[in-house]
């Protein structure tokens, strides 16, 4: 009996801890959500918890897509187009980066080559410079190449940003997959590359999902380069973060509009994370457990 109560107390403490930690991390999100459905009038009530009771409004969400003008019919903001841009550019660059990264990591992990460590270090060193330092040269380069205001320009850019990370991360994972699996496949009759697809790739999928998630976060949230490449003028390749920032600046601090835009902006990542959740968790703990 006593042992049982002890166990129950332990369980209560454990859950209490989980709830505290979760609350800590989720609070900003909840506040974001609350702000986005508050009427403008109660936004700045003090103290802020006194404004917990209000009549929710959907006006901010409509404002994200249609901007009111005094005396004129509202105009479309094309925010959904920006989301599509962000999605397109992020997913394409994440896909490229993960695939190229996996193949490169496999090569680094499995093949003898001269200067392997130097090359790995070189790849890492591309991320040592603060990215912003390359902004001006990149601007000139992109202008010369005609990559300004284009989707593929940003896709290439983000692939480059995340590739070093994905090569290093995948190298770690692939090193953990026994190379005998591939050798067995080769003896079974597969070619060198065939053995990779047959034996190693299925093992690396979870790791690839985890890598892709991290790359997605980088690409999805990137602002500075997106601003330079697509932000200077209204262009068809502009990404959502750029527009979010413009919302801050141009129409005063309309917090309701800002928070509503941000929540909408969050939705695709949340959906993708949920889809990948299982892979992701397995990927993150991958290699920490002796199988």
């Amino acid at each position: 009996m006593q042992r049982r109560t002890k166990r129950q107390v332990k369980r209560i403490i454990r859950y209490a801890l989980i709830i505290v930690v979760t609350a800590f991390f989720i609070f900003p999100l909840i506040w974001l959500g609350l702000t986005s459905i508050k009427p403008r009038a109660v936004l700045f009530d003090k103290p802020s918890w006194s404004s917990l009771f209000f009549e929710p409004t959907a006006k901010n969400y409509i404002d994200v897509f249609y901007r009111e003008q005094y005396g004129l019919p509202p105009v479309r903001t094309y925010f959904e187009m920006l989301l599509v841009n962000s999605l397109l550019i992020s997913l394409a660059s994440v896909g490229l980066s993960t695939i190229i990264g996996t193949l490169a990591a496999w090569a680094f992990s499995r093949f003898e080559m001269r200067g392997k460590n130097t090359m790995m270090f070189f790849i890492l060193s591309t991320r040592m410079l603060p990215p912003i330092a390359t902004l001006v040269p990149l601007y000139l380069l992109y202008r010369a190449l005609g990559f300004m205001y284009t989707h593929h320009g940003l896709i290439l850019l983000y692939t480059m940003f995340t590739l070093a990370f994905s090569v290093w991360m995948m190298k770690g994972f692939i090193d953990e997959i026994p190379k005998e699996l591939e050798e067995a496949a080769m003896v079974d009759g597969h070619s060198r590359l065939g053995a990779f697809f047959k034996a190693t790739l299925p093992q690396a999928l979870t790791a690839m999902a985890a890598t892709a998630m991290f790359c997605l976060m980088t690409a999805w949230n990137e602002y500075a380069f997106a601003l330079v490449v697509t932000g200077t003028d209204w262009t068809h390749a502009r990404t959502a973060p750029v527009q979010l920032a413009k919302t801050f600046g141009e129409s005063g601090y309309n917090w309701g509009l800002i928070t509503a835009s941000e929540l909408i902006y969050l939705i695709p990542v949340i959906i993708i994370t949920f889809i990948m959740q299982e892979y992701l968790l397995r990927g993150i703990t991958f290699g920490t457990i002796k199988r």
Binding site: E180, L181, V187, H190, K198, R291
Partner: protein, 363 residues
Amino acid sequence: MARVLLENVTLEKGILCPVHSLTLEVRDKEFVSLLAPSGSGKTTTLRIVAGLDRPEKGSVWIGDEEVGDMTPAERDVAMIFQTYALYPHVSVRDNLASPLKVRKTPETEIDRSVKEVAEVLHIEDLLDKRPVTLSGGEMQRVAIGRALIRKPRVYLMDEPLTNLDAKLRVELRAEMKRLQKELGQTTIYATHDEVEALAMSNRIAVLNQGRLIQYDAPEAIYTHPKNTFVARFVGTPAMNMIPCSLEEKHGRKILQAGAFEYDITDFAEAVQGKATGDELVLGVRPAHVELHSKPPVDGGIQASVYVVEPMGRMTIVDVKVGENVFKVKVPHLFEGKPGDSVWISLDPRSVHIFDRKTGEAIA
């Protein structure tokens, strides 16, 4: 079905267990064991034959072809890995079928072969399981099955029975020997277990630190070990090795070992001809030492019982002669206690003499 020939194969750089100038011929349909302690290059040798490692020097032949430039797939060999190397993401059935599938074997034939192999290895119940859910012994049998399912030119087996329990090991040992004979497959079998090597092989190649020490039929390896390494390594318990020196006493040639001496007048000339000096090692297997409770007529060596290890049908008795300990295999129950006085005599036909400096066998 093909012979395998390694000619002066050397692989030293960047490898854990190097192989030095190894020449080894395995005849068609022959079962050859690579017998060596861990880290002696057995696995490396198999990997070179399979084409997974490229030798720096020397050439590898399978059948009448030089296979140096061929990929593992082109060489048409099957290998059982020590680490099993089963594909973790597919079922046992798919693991077994995999080598046939790559070679575009018709489905019905694959099904039939899988069933056949599963039956031989007692893994019919495991076919739909994933490798991760299997025990070590079960995984090992699946790994054996993945090799047996195919009829390659050569089987390469890297310690395939080590992780099985004793009973299954003996059973599979016989089963594999039968299969090999029946299929007439050239087989190279790496093992550190001399019993396996002696029981299964046509010939045994004893390796030490990447070099071939002796290559001969099992009986010859056992009865005529080429040097002290082979003598110590083959046979359980290991051969008794007593350092001694060649001396002359009253016109007779004797081996002086401190506490006792052994008369070798009859073949002293042969010994002296081959030895590099007077420092020798007297070797005798525990089974070739006789134990007496009373002094034998021809004058035995007096000893005292040191340790008694009953093994069921036989007893291993350690006796002390001066500072030297002899292991004696007694084919019955031994009644003595430690400290008892006993006499031993050595079977003169089974005494080995080695050169202490070079380790080479002399007589």
